[in-house]
Every structure is written in C-alpha cells, then in structure tokens.
C-alpha cells in the first residue's frame, strides 16, 4: 500500500499505522524514541530521589508537609481518563471514522488541559504558601524539574494533537496521517505512564516520609 492511496471503509487496512514502509518506520522509530525518553525520565527520577528533602535548613518544608492527596488524586484521574479517551480515538481511527476519532481526541485534549491547570495551581500553591520554589533548595530544584518536565511533555502533547486535528480536519483519514495520529496517542500513553510513576514516587512516597 502507498501513502497516497485513496481508501474507503472497505479497503482501510486493519493496522493503518503499519501498512506502508514509511508508517512502519515511523511506528518503530517512535517506540525507540520513547525508549530514550524512558531513560531521560529515569535519570530525572534518580536525581529527584537523591535530592528529596535535601534543604539548606529546618525552615524549609519537606515533601510530607507539602503534598495533598486529594489534589493529586484528581489530577491522576484526569490524566488516566484522558489515556482511555485516546484509546477510543484510536479505535475509531482503525475503523476509518475520522469524525468520532476527532471527538475523542478533543475530549483527550480537554482532560489534558484540565490536568495542566491543576498542576499550575499546585505549583503556585507551593510557591506562595510554602515558599517552596525552584531556587529555594536542591529539593525544590529537583521537584520542579521532574514534575515540570512531565508537565512540559503534556503541554507539548496538547499542541501536537491540536495541530494534527486542525491540519486533518477537512480531509479525513488516509495512510499518510493515520500513523501520525497513532504515534501521538502512543506519546500520550507514555506521559500517562510517567505520571503514574510520579504519583507513586513523588506524591505517595512523599506522604509517608
């Protein structure tokens, strides 16, 4: 099959994300990219664990003073749900239904944006209530870098998926853009998985000391 082929519901392949050589390459290359990203986040996690609660003096707040479970629980639920909606979007992509795919992708975007709003509120809260800033201690630097890198990834994902939706809104699905939607959803799952680790390592382990 070729990327330029005009396809219908009947001729649409079962795995449109892997049906041309270019698509296969993109699919595999993106998995490798995520492998590299995994090491990137692993390095940030290691740095965070080494610097957790490392503050210059006792006036600074530690992890157990800062974090509140209700807020991060809501954030976690928002992001996990957005992963689910992106699965629905890919289900409709595989069924050659661009309209429904776009609907679920927009829902994914809204949930992701809500997550980001909560995160901004959270950071703002720490800065103003606890004077826990990027420059106040090594703990602060490591916390904002790890969680902020994840937040940056979410923001980039929002821009990316928005661009994809807008660019392809008029022309529907083909074998050229289907792999693009697919790797964007892979990316979205990846940042969701990273968040699960942040939730565990930063917040849950932070609460218990």
């Amino acid at each position: 099959m070729h990327a330029e082929d005009k396809l219908t519901y009947e001729t649409w392949p079962a795995e449109p994300e892997k049906s041309t050589l270019e698509a296969k390459n993109k699919f595999l290359g993106f998995w490798f990219f995520l492998g590299g990203e995994t090491v990137l986040f692993a390095s940030l996690f290691a740095t965070y664990l080494a610097l957790k609660d490392k503050v210059p003096d006792t006036t600074h707040h530690l992890a157990k003073d800062l974090f509140e479970l209700p807020l991060t629980f809501v954030a976690t639920m928002l992001l996990l749900t957005s992963s689910l909606t992106s699965v629905y979007a890919m289900y409709h992509m595989k069924n050659f239904n661009a309209k429904k795919m776009n609907f679920w992708l927009v829902l994914t975007l809204l949930l992701g944006a809500a997550f980001l709003v909560l995160e901004i509120y959270e950071f703002n809260h720490y800065v103003h209530e606890f004077h826990h800033t990027f420059t106040s201690s090594a703990f602060g630097s490591a916390f904002y870098t790890l969680v902020g890198f994840h937040g940056g990834h979410v923001a980039f994902g929002l821009l990316w998926i928005t661009t994809l939706i807008v660019r392809n809104s008029k022309r529907g699905l083909d074998l050229y853009n289907a792999p693009k939607f697919y790797v964007a959803s892979l990316y979205w799952h990846f940042i969701d998985v990273v968040w699960v680790f942040i939730f565990t390592v930063v917040y849950l382990m932070g609460m218990v000391g």
Partner: protein, 624 residues
C-alpha cells in the same frame, strides 16, 4: 530525475548539500565537518605538547592550558570521532543491507545539522571570553566555579549536537530493522552493520542521561537552581554519575564501529571469510550490554565504598572477555589467508597490538585498589589514548582509505597512504607509550607545567616529538586527498578487487537511489558469493519498477540554525543583555516554525520512473 551525473555550478552544489537528504551526501558532510574538527582538536593537542615539551614552559598560561585540554577532549570525542564514525555509518551501512536510503532521510539531515551547529557554537567560545575549562568531563564542582561563559558554551553546544546524535541513532536502528534487502537476515548482516546497530542502541540509551546532566547544569548556571550547590542541599556526585552513565557507553559507541570497520578490512585483504562470525556478533552485543554496567569505574576514588567498587571492578574486567574473543577472531581471519598489505590492512594490523596494549592497561585500571595509584596521572592519559587513538582513530584512517573510492569514485594514493601510516604509527607510540611511565612516576594529568629535576624532562620531550610525527602523518594524508581529487581517476564497482559485501556491487559512487532493483542476498558476504559463482553482480530480487525517493529540504538546516541562534540568546541572558531575550525568542520561533511547517506540509517524496531508470542504463552502461 537522472540529474546526478550533470555538472553543476558552485552555488547549485552548495544548495544541493544544504538541502540534501541523501545518506551518501550526508556522509560526505559528516566526513568534511568531522575532519575539520579533527584538525582543530589536533592543533589543540599540538599546543598541549608544545607547552609540556620542556619544564616551566610559558607557551600558554595555566588558565589557557585548561581551556585547551578541555576543548581538545570535547572536540575530539563529540565533534571529530563521533561524526567521522557517523560518516562511515551513513556512507556504507544502507548500502551493506541493500536499502535505498535510511528510514528517515529528513531526520538524518537534521541530525547532521544539529551536530554541526552545536559544534560551531561550542568552538565559538574561543571568541567570546574564553572556552570551557573544567575538562571534557566538566565535573560540577569545577564547572560551577568556572568564571566567564566557557561552561555555558559547553552545556548548550553539547546539548544541541547531542540531540543530533540521538536522532541519528534511532534512524539507524529503524533502518537496519525495517529496510534490509530480501534475504538479508540478521545473521547475514556484515559486521560493520552489526556494530552500527549495537552502537545505535547504545546511543539511544546513553545520550538521555547526558541530556539530563546538561539540563541540570544549565539550570544551575542560568536559572539559579541548586542541583550541584552543596550549601543548598545539592550534590555534585549526581553529575559524575549522570556523566559517566553516558560517558562509558560513549567510548563503546566510538570503538564498536571501529571494530566493525576492521572486521570488514581483515576478510577483504586476507581474502578469507571472517573467522567466527557468530561469536563476533555475540561479542559485539555483549560488549554493548556490559558497557552500561561499568560507569562507576571512573569514580573509584569518589568514595562510593568497597562494595560498589568491587562490583564495578569485576564487571569492568568482564568486558575483556568478549573483546579478547574479537582479537582472536581477527588473528584467525588473517591466519592462512592470502594477505594483501594495502593501506587499510596496515592500519588494521597495527590496530591489534596497539589496541591490545590499551586493553591491558584498562584491566590494570579496573583493579580498584590499584586505581587509587593510577587515578588522575598520565597513566590514565596513556591508557585512553591507546584505546581511542589506537582503536578509533586507526579505524577512521583505515576506513577513509577503504571507503574513499566508494564515497568519491577515486582511490587515495597507496604510497602516500603508507607514508601516512608509518609516520602516524611511529608518532603515536612515541607520544603515548612513555606516558604510561610518566604516570607511574607520578606526573599528574591536566597540569600545565612541571619543574626541572622531577625526572619528567626527557620523557615529555620524547612525547612531544612523537606528536610532530603524528602531525606530519595527517599533513601527508591531506596532501594525498588533494592530489588524488585533482587527478580524479575514476574507479569501478570493486576497486580493491576483493570486496565481499553489497556496497562493492554498486558503482563508485553509487547512483542516488543505490540499487536499481533490490538485490537478492543468498548468504554472508553476499557479493563474494556471487563472484565465486562467476557472476558479475547481484541477482535482483524484484522486477525493475518505479523507485520512491524522498524530497530534498532546507528545513533541517533551518531547524538546527534556529537552536544555534536561541543558544546565543540563552547564554547572554545571564549578562542581562537587553537583546538576549528577543534573540532567544527569534531562535526558538525559527526552530518551532520550521518544525510546524514540516508537520503541516505533506511530503510524499517523488518517484523515479522505470523508463528513466532504463535510460540511465543506456547512458552509462551501469549495472546495479
């Protein structure tokens, strides 16, 4: 589209290279840029040896000496050795597996331009109040205290060029997995392709820790964070770990492709298949795996404790096993062969004892208790120059002579090649052998001078004279390149006469689509098999048909250039210069604008039609 044979003006050629996505042209770009930085790093080495030739020398000041050694190491590793290795990977690997191009031609070009602009940015530090001066490892405890902008140039320059390397690694991995010609199974892949494969995997997993380390240092220096500020709870050992988790695999990233090049040369010029092919593959993979397990042997004296030191010492010694397997396999390949002593074979034969010496001192250094004696002495300097020059640089010279006809269509002069070899080989051992003893006698590395009467005078002078021989060797080689390019005597498909792998079945240089019809691979050393059966070329695996090719694009250049501009803005923002923020924003707009353009503009490439391919055949009488 059969335009590759036409004569072009300089402007058109330049534009062609700025926009090319062809792996063979990108290889030439890597070769030129890497060669340029090799000469720059070489000049820095010469300055080091002039300064150290006699005691109490004042050729350069102590501060400038620190900048020179830092830039020598950084330039040679990141901007000379890696790009030169990438040049051969790009030039040869897709041909060896019978692919039309790499998996992501656009990304391939982007990778080159990121490396290039990162390297230029780093070297521009010489013109803006000083180069980095904390050593190529840039340990945070030193780097955080460094005045001026040297370290910032290091951090931003390496970040940009590191991105280029990372995407290059992903590209090669996907190419090798997805784009092998029919019949090219994994265990029929030439060893150079195998080492490219394993190297790319190492790049993928080793570069992100460097990225993180550089980000942390950038945050500390530019935005006031406290990762490495101990009074604020920071910890400088984090940098050491992140750097060496990258840095140790990095030396395997350099040496594995070198092993690959030698594993091509030995069979070609012994006219005998590689001894123990499958054990070579196994050893390559094992070295790649173990390469990630040994980073803390660079930190034996940091104080990680006896348990950590013992584990890393044993893991390090274990790498000697697969490396030893390789050495024996090379020896057995030559054994009983009908050996032709060409220039590449000279380098290959000299590589074995030279690299072995570096390996032996490596095992000595792995003994953690003894390392307290060797640490930070010239013994270490001698060790890593034996493995990197005796291994990687020898391979780059060998590869340049071996693949020059395939890349440029003309041979380098053999006599001059051998003169280069003897000058460089003698100079290399003269420079570095004595440094083992200097180290054992107590001369510390990274010092800008020494006193008379410490017993270091004669040895340092010998070492400096050796550097002269090495420089002469490089000059002869440059002369060789110039005169053979001017003469430009064209050669055929298989100029060495004994090529074994697919690249030698193609014209030199190959047409831009490589194989007109994908070849059928029937075993290891696919081209050799066909020749042994009396055939002229490869059997095609498909009928002649349209070939799908990617479009050229200036966007990779623009994306990398934007980051180059943005890096200046970020760097001078530390001085509160009013123009810095606009420059940063403009640079990022250029980069992200170009990326956005790439995303929204469809690029389906083009087709070379069957009829044009048939015309080519008639014009040039080329069989591919």
């Amino acid at each position: 589209m059969s335009t590759y044979a036409q004569k072009k003006g300089f402007g058109a050629t330049l534009w062609d290279f700025l926009t090319t996505v062809d792996h063979k042209k990108i290889a030439i770009l890597y070769l030129i840029a890497g060669g340029f930085f090799f000469v720059v790093g070489g000049l820095e080495a010469v300055f080091i040896r002039i300064q150290l030739a006699v005691p109490n020398n004042d050729f350069v000041s102590a501060g400038l000496f620190n900048e020179i050694i830092t830039m020598h190491g950084t330039t040679m590793i990141f901007l000379a050795a890696m790009p030169l290795v990438f040049a051969f990977m790009n030039a040869v690997m897709p041909l060896q597996i019978g692919a039309r191009d790499v998996a992501f031609p656009f990304v391939n070009a982007l990778g080159f331009w990121l490396f290039f602009f990162g390297g230029v940015f780093l070297n521009l530090s010489w013109f803006f109040d000083g180069a980095p001066d904390a050593g190529w490892t840039s340990y945070a405890s030193l780097a955080m205290a460094s005045k001026g902008h040297g370290i910032d140039f290091y951090v931003l320059g390496l970040q940009i060029s590191g991105l280029g390397t990372l995407i290059g690694g992903i590209n090669f991995l996907v190419t090798i997995i997805n784009m092998r010609a029919p019949g090219m199974t994994y265990m029929r892949m030439p060893l150079f392709t195998w080492t490219t494969f394993v190297t790319s995997a190492l790049i993928l997993f080793a570069f992100p820790p460097l990225t993180v380390g550089l980000v942390l240092m950038m945050f500390d220096r530019m935005f006031g964070s406290n990762f490495f500020v101990t009074t604020m709870g920071g910890n400088t050992v984090i940098w050491e770990h992140l750097f060496w988790i990258f840095g140790h695999p990095e030396v395997y990233i350099l040496i594995l492709p070198a092993f690959g090049i030698f594993s091509e040369i030995f069979p070609i010029f012994s006219r005998k298949r590689l001894f123990g092919y499958s054990s070579m593959v196994f050893a390559t993979v094992l070295i790649g795996f173990l390469g990630f397990m040994v980073w803390a042997h660079h930190m034996f004296t940091t104080g990680l404790g006896p348990v950590a030191n013992a584990i890393f010492a044993v893991a390090t010694m274990a790498i000697g096993v697969p490396t030893g397997i390789k050495i024996f396999n090379w020896l057995f390949t030559v054994w009983g062969g009908s050996v032709k002593f060409t220039t590449p074979m000279h380098w290959a034969m000299a590589f074995i004892p030279s690299f072995l010496a570096g390996g032996v001192t490596g095992v000595m250094l792995a003994v953690a208790a003894a390392d307290y004696q060797y640490h930070d002495t010239y013994f270490v300097v001698a060790h890593f120059h034996y493995v990197i020059v005796g291994g990687v640089v020898f391979a780059i010279f060998a590869g340049t002579h071996l693949y020059w006809p395939k890349m440029f269509g003309t041979m380098l002069n053999e006599t001059l090649g051998k003169i280069t070899f003897w000058l460089f080989f003698v100079g290399f051992h003269m420079t570095f052998f004595i440094q083992h003893f200097l180290g054992l006698w107590g001369m510390p590395r990274r010092v800008f001078t020494y006193l008379p009467g410490q017993g270091f005078e004669t040895s340092n002078l010998i070492s400096s004279i050796g550097a002269v021989f090495m420089s002469l060797g490089v000059i002869v080689m440059l002369y060789n390149i110039i005169i053979t390019s001017v003469k430009n005597v064209k050669v055929g498909n298989d100029p060495w006469g004994d090529g074994r792998t697919l690249e030698w079945a193609l014209p030199s240089p190959p047409p831009f689509y490589n194989f007109k019809q994908l070849p059928l691979v029937r075993g290891l050393d696919a081209y050799w098999l066909e020749k042994m059966e009396g055939k002229k070329g490869m059997t095609p695996a498909e009928p002649l048909g349209d070939i799908h090719m990617p479009n050229s694009s200036i966007l990779p250049f623009v994306i990398a250039f934007g980051l180059f501009v943005a890096a200046f803005g970020a760097l001078f923002n530390m001085d509160d210069k009013a123009w810095s923020v606009p420059v940063l924003i403009i640079g990022l707009l250029i980069t992200f604008g170009a990326m956005f353009l790439r995303s929204v503009k469809d690029d389906h490439g083009f087709h070379i039609h069957k009829e044009e391919l048939m015309e080519d055949d008639n014009d040039k009488g080329v069989k591919a």
